[in-house]
Amino acid sequence: MNKKILNLKFTEDQIDALREFMNVSIGAATASLANLLDAFGTMHIPEIEICNSSELAGKIESTIDLKSMYYTTKQLFTGKFGGECMFVISEDSAKNLGRHLYNVTIPSGDEIKDAVMELSNILTSTIVSRLTQELNVQVQFFVPSSQFIDANSIIHDEDVVEYSKIIIISTILDFQDQQIKGNIYILTKDEAIESLKILIDKKIEEIYG
């Protein structure tokens, strides 16, 4: 059993650096999507939060409208910096996305799901590739899985019991003219947080040193 006590606290500089890397990554992702959608995306400042696994559901619920239904996509990535990228998009936004991407008036459920998956795949791939490129590591991506669920079912407590600390890096994907808006969360835990810290420190050293 892993009894090693991890130091999972981030310094202000580490948080600042991580936010900036994330910002650059989101920028790349937004550009990829802007190409896909032939639209302009407004960028938002990423937020970084470290919480206990039991708080995750509450944190995510606080960023979305609880009355809406959501398409959620989860994609795993592994490597020195591993975790889960989650994309949450409301039913209305997802419909707009399906309409836009498939160029149809009323997209079918399959078309919406496929569109959401494609969008989130691009997001995850670009963000995580860019982030890991900033941190000089390689990652592998797994097939995303998507679900159509209500706001309260996005995270089940039992899903995350094995994690102790979770870092939530979140931002908003925002294509205003197309009314497509979604939340992106990069979740990573325990050992991955620690290796993330080491990677960030290296990078900080590079820039400040």
Partner: protein, 120 residues
């Protein structure tokens, strides 16, 4: 030469400063963490060059750029942003920026900026 560096991220400002110092070691540096601070500092210090980020709290780079150009339509503003959409570049150029570069800025780009973009 006075240079104003505007970014909410400290590491991003450090990145700009690091490559700037290799080209212009004598430059006098001013830093702002959001658009509002940038506009105030611009008024006060009248810097020769401004490096401006777009995504920032309080006042974003688009708004700050507009205000700076209002103060001095000859202002030498270089936008440095994570936003690499061509539409974003188009918008800031229309608003009066001299050029726009994706983050992070390295020495080569910095050299290019001082040789090609800026009228000093």
């Amino acid at each position: 030469m006075k240079v104003l560096i505007v970014d909410d991220s400290k590491i991003a400002r450090m990145g700009v400063i690091k490559s700037l110092k290799e080209i212009q070691p004598e430059a006098e540096l001013f830093q702002a963490t959001n658009g509002l601070e940038a506009v105030e500092l611009f008024k006060k210090e009248k810097p020769d060059v401004v490096f401006l980020d777009l995504t920032m709290p309080v006042m974003d780079g688009y708004e700050a750029l507009k205000k700076i150009i209002e103060i001095d339509k000859e202002a030498q503003v270089i936008v440095v942003s994570a936003d690499i959409q061509s539409e974003a570049k188009h918008r800031v150029l229309v608003a009066g920026a001299k050029n726009m570069y994706p983050k992070p800025i390295n020495k080569e780009i910095m050299t290019h900026i001082f040789e090609q973009d800026l009228l000093l």
